[in-house]
C-alpha cells in the first residue's frame, strides 16, 4: 500500500481538496481489506448536497488508521430511509450515523421568507422541525444502537429584517438559536446522541466565507470549499473520539515554545513570559495547555537543555502557569527528540500514537515526523500569538465524556512514581506487591460507573482482549440486559486510589458464559488485579449454572501483551474465527485462586467508593 502511504504523507503536509480526493480515490479503489485500516461503517443521512465533504472525512480518518466505509442517503426525505426497515440503510448496518441537516432544506420559509411569518407560524415551524429531528433520533437509536451525530444550524449572515432583527423579540437569529437549543436538548435526552456544532464551525470561519451561493443554486450544495474541510475535520473528531483514536499525552518543547527566548542563554530573568507582549502570548499558550491538563490530557517535557535551568523556571518564574506537578514525564537532556519521545511513551506505558509533539523548530519537527510517523506533530509557526489557537484547533484530544478519573489523571501518574520507589526498596516482586496493600472492589455497572466503563472500552488498547468499543448508551443497555453482566474493577492501595481501572463484559447464552470484553487500564498492569476480575466472572458464571466460560482474544497490533492471557489462566483453545481465538474453561474444574496480595470486595449493587 505504498501508493496510499505516499498520498497520506502528502495529505499530512497539505490539507486540500486535491489531497483529500487523492486519498479518497485510493481508499475506494482498494477497499478496507486492501488498505489494512480498521473499517468504520458510517451512514450519512442528509437533506442537502454534502458529497464534497466525504473525501475530507475519509482522509482525516485514514490518517488515524480508520477506513471509512460510507453509506450516503438519497435526496428523498430522510424520514423515508429511516422509517423503512427494508431500506439500504438497514442493510448497511452502520457503526456511526451522521444526520446532516441544512435548515434551508428542512424549513425554507424560516430561512427565505422569515419576514412574512407571524409569531405563531415561526413557533409552528420550530416545533415541526424539532419534532422531526426527535422522531428520527428515536427511530435510529432504537434500530441501530449506534452513535448518532446531529448538528446545529448556522445563523443567518444577513437576516431578512436587516439591523432590525437584533431589536426584535421573535427575530430570525433568535428562532435559529431556539431551534439549536432544541437539537441540543434532544441529544442530551439520549445517551448515544451527540451534536456537531455547525453554528460554531461556520462562525469560526466567518459565515460569509462558510456559505457558497453558486453551488447552492446549481447543486443544492451550500457550503464553501473551505467550509467543507472545516466540517469534515469536525466530523472526524467525533469518529476518532468514539473509536479510541483520541491521543493522550502532549509533549512540549521549552525554549521558544513555553516561553520566548532560550533559558540557557537568556537566563531566568531574560526569557519572555508574563503579562505583557510578547510574554503574554506564551502565558496564554500555557493556559490553553492547562485546560487540556484539567481535561485529563497528560503533559510531558522534551527539551534540549540543562535540566536544572528548566526546573528553575518551573519552580521560580512568576509568569509560569505550568509547574512541576503538571508534568508526568520530563526528558530534559541533549539526546535527540525521537529517542526522548520513545522514552516518554515507554515510561507512561502508552503507544507512540497517543503522543502529540509540539515544537517551534522545523528541524526537530521534521526529524520526529520522519522517524516516528505515529506521533502527531504540531509545528508552531513564527507567531507566538497564534500558539494557543494552533493547539486548540487540531482536536487531537477530542473526547465525548469527562470522567472523574480525567480530573485527577496526572496525580495518579505521579503517585506511580512513588510506587516505583517502593518497588526499588522491596526485595522481590511479590514482596513489593504485598507491601502495596491493594484492595480491589468488583461490582456490576451502575449509573456512577457507566461513563468510565464506556470510556475505558474506548481508550484501552494494550490490555484489551477484544478491543470492542462501546458508548455510554451501549454499556447502559448491556448492563440493563438480563443476559449480560458488566463488571467494573476498582483498585486502591496504600499510596492512593487508582480508581476504576478495569471492566469485564460477560454474555450468557445456552449454558455458556462468553467474555465479550475484558480490559485493564495501562496504569494498573502488572499487579494481578485482572486475576481478581476473572475469578469473579468465573464464580458468577458458575453460580448462574453455566457449564463453561468462553474467552475471546482478537489480536490487534497493540494487544500482544494479552495474547497468552487465557492459556495462562487454565483455558483451553477451542478454535479460531478470523482473527478471533476462542478459549474455553470448563466450570466443573476448580476455579483458580485470586492473588494472595489483593483483598477483593464484591459489591452486589452499589459502588462503594464512587462518592469519594
Amino acid at each position: 500500500m505504498d501508493e496510499l502511504q505516499i498520498k497520506l504523507e502528502e495529505l499530512r503536509r497539505e490539507r486540500s481538496h486535491r489531497t483529500y480526493s487523492a486519498v479518497s480515490n485510493l481508499l475506494r479503489k482498494h477497499g478496507p481489506e486492501g488498505t489494512g485500516l480498521v473499517p468504520l461503517r458510517i451512514a450519512v443521512l442528509r437533506n442537502f448536497t454534502i458529497e464534497m465533504m466525504l473525501p475530507v472525512l475519509e482522509g482525516e480518518l485514514a490518517l488515524s488508521g480508520i477506513h471509512a466505509v460510507l453509506y450516503l442517503g438519497g435526496y428523498a426525505p430522510i424520514a423515508q430511509e429511516v422509517l423503512d426497515t427494508g431500506s439500504e440503510l438497514y442493510a448497511f448496518h452502520p457503526d456511526f450515523i451522521l444526520l446532516a441537516m441544512w435548515l434551508e432544506s428542512a424549513a425554507p420559509q424560516l430561512v427565505n421568507r422569515f419576514v412574512s411569518l407571524h409569531p405563531p407560524q415561526i413557533t409552528a415551524e420550530i416545533e415541526r422541525v424539532s419534532a422531526f429531528v426527535k422522531s428520527m433520533v428515536q427511530t435510529l437509536d432504537a434500530a441501530f444502537k449506534s452513535p448518532v451525530l446531529l448538528n446545529t444550524f448556522p445563523l443567518p449572515a444577513y437576516p431578512g429584517m436587516g439591523i432590525l432583527d437584533a431589536q426584535l423579540q421573535n427575530s430570525e437569529t433568535a428562532s435559529v438559536l431556539e431551534l439549536n437549543r432544541r437539537v441540543l436538548d434532544i441529544a442530551r435526552e439520549h445517551s448515544n446522541v451527540y451534536v456537531m456544532d455547525l453554528m460554531l464551525v461556520a462562525a469560526r470561519l466567518g459565515r460569509a466565507q462558510f456559505f457558497d451561493a453558486r453551488y447552492w443554486h446549481m447543486a443544492h450544495a451550500p457550503i464553501s470549499g473551505e467550509g467543507l474541510i472545516a466540517v469534515g475535520r469536525e466530523y472526524a473528531k467525533f469518529a476518532r473520539a468514539l473509536n479510541g483514536k483520541t491521543r493522550k499525552c502532549l509533549v512540549l518543547d521549552c525554549d521558544n515554545t513555553l516561553w520566548g527566548g532560550i533559558i540557557g542563554e537568556d537566563g531566568i530573568n531574560g526569557i519572555k513570559l508574563g503579562t505583557t507582549y510578547p510574554g503574554s502570548c506564551f502565558a496564554a499558550f500555557q493556559k490553553e495547555i492547562l485546560n487540556l491538563h484539567d481535561r485529563g490530557v497528560l503533559l510531558a517535557l522534551c527539551s534540549k537543555n540543562n535540566e536544572d535551568d528548566v526546573l528553575e523556571v518551573l519552580r521560580r518564574h512568576p509568569g509560569m502557569e505550568l509547574r512541576e506537578e503538571h508534568f508526568v514525564a520530563r526528558e530534559i537532556n541533549w539526546d535527540d527528540k525521537p529517542t526522548n519521545l520513545r522514552r516518554i511513551a515507554a515510561r507512561l506505558n502508552i503507544g507512540l500514537d497517543s503522543l502529540v509533539f509540539v515544537d517551534d523548530s522545523s528541524f526537530e519537527c521534521a526529524m520526529v515526523r520522519n522517524s516516528l510517523p505515529e506521533v502527531a506533530v504540531i509545528e508552531l509557526g513564527s507567531e507566538p500569538s497564534e500558539y494557543a489557537t494552533q493547539i486548540a484547533r487540531e482536536g487531537h484530544f477530542a473526547t465525548l465524556t469527562l470522567s472523574s478519573e480525567d480530573r485527577v489523571r496526572t496525580r495518579m501518574y505521579l503517585e506511580e512514581d512513588e510506587r516505583s520507589k517502593l518497588r526499588a526498596a522491596a526485595g522481590s516482586i511479590e514482596e513489593y506487591l504485598g507491601s502495596l496493600g491493594m484492595v480491589a472492589c468488583i461490582g456490576p455497572a451502575d449509573e456512577m460507573s457507566i461513563p468510565r466503563i464506556a470510556q475505558l472500552t474506548q481508550r484501552t488498547n494494550q490490555f484489551n482482549l477484544t478491543t470492542r468499543r462501546y458508548s455510554d448508551g451501549d454499556i447502559r443497555a448491556l448492563a440493563a440486559s438480563s443476559d449480560t453482566e458488566v463488571y467494573y474493577l476498582q483498585l486502591r492501595d496504600r499510596v492512593s486510589e487508582l480508581g476504576l481501572i478495569g471492566t469485564a463484559l460477560v454474555k450468557y447464552s445456552d449454558g455458556d458464559a462468553v467474555i465479550d470484553s475484558f480490559l485493564l487500564s495501562c496504569r494498573a498492569i502488572g499487579r494481578g488485579a485482572e486475576d481478581c476480575l476473572l475469578v469473579r466472572c468465573l464464580e458468577a458464571a458458575r453460580e448462574r449454572g453455566c457449564r463453561r466460560m468462553i474467552g475471546l482474544y482478537a489480536r490487534t497490533a497493540k494487544n500482544g501483551i494479552v495474547a497468552r492471557f487465557y492459556s495462562t489462566h487454565g483455558f483451553r483453545v477451542m478454535g479460531q474465527d478470523g482473527d478471533t481465538e476462542q478459549w474455553e474453561f470448563s466450570l466443573d474444574q476448580p476455579i483458580p485462586a485470586a492473588p494472595a496480595w489483593i483483598v477483593t470486595n464484591f459489591e452486589e449493587t452499589r459502588n462503594r467508593y464512587a462518592n469519594q
Binding site: K7, H17, R18, S21, R214, A219
Partner: protein, 80 residues
C-alpha cells in the same frame, strides 16, 4: 519547483484517480470515466483552492477539459 502545468496535471490525476502521466491535451469529461457532475464540483473546489482563485458562475460550466481549464486559469493570471 513544480510548474503550473505539472500542478494542474497532478490535480486532475488526484481528483479523478488516474495516473498523472495520462493527463494531457486531450483529457476531457468525455474520456475520463470518473468525470461526472459530482467530481466536477470536487475539481472546481480543488482548482480554486490550489490556485487561490474563484471562478465566476459563467466559468464554472466551461471547465470540462484540460485545455479549457488551462485557458480559464490563464484569464485569472495563472500561466503555464
Amino acid at each position: 519547483m513544480q510548474t503550473n502545468e505539472e500542478k494542474l496535471k497532478q490535480l486532475l490525476a488526484d481528483v479523478f484517480g488516474i495516473p498523472a502521466d495520462t493527463v494531457g491535451e486531450e483529457t476531457s469529461y468525455e474520456n475520463v470515466v470518473n468525470w461526472d457532475s459530482l467530481n466536477q464540483m470536487r475539481l472546481v473546489l480543488a482548482l480554486e483552492q490550489s490556485f487561490r482563485l474563484s471562478f465566476s458562475e459563467q466559468e464554472l460550466g466551461s471547465l470540462t477539459s484540460y485545455a479549457r481549464i488551462r485557458e480559464a486559469l490563464k484569464t485569472h493570471g495563472v500561466h503555464q
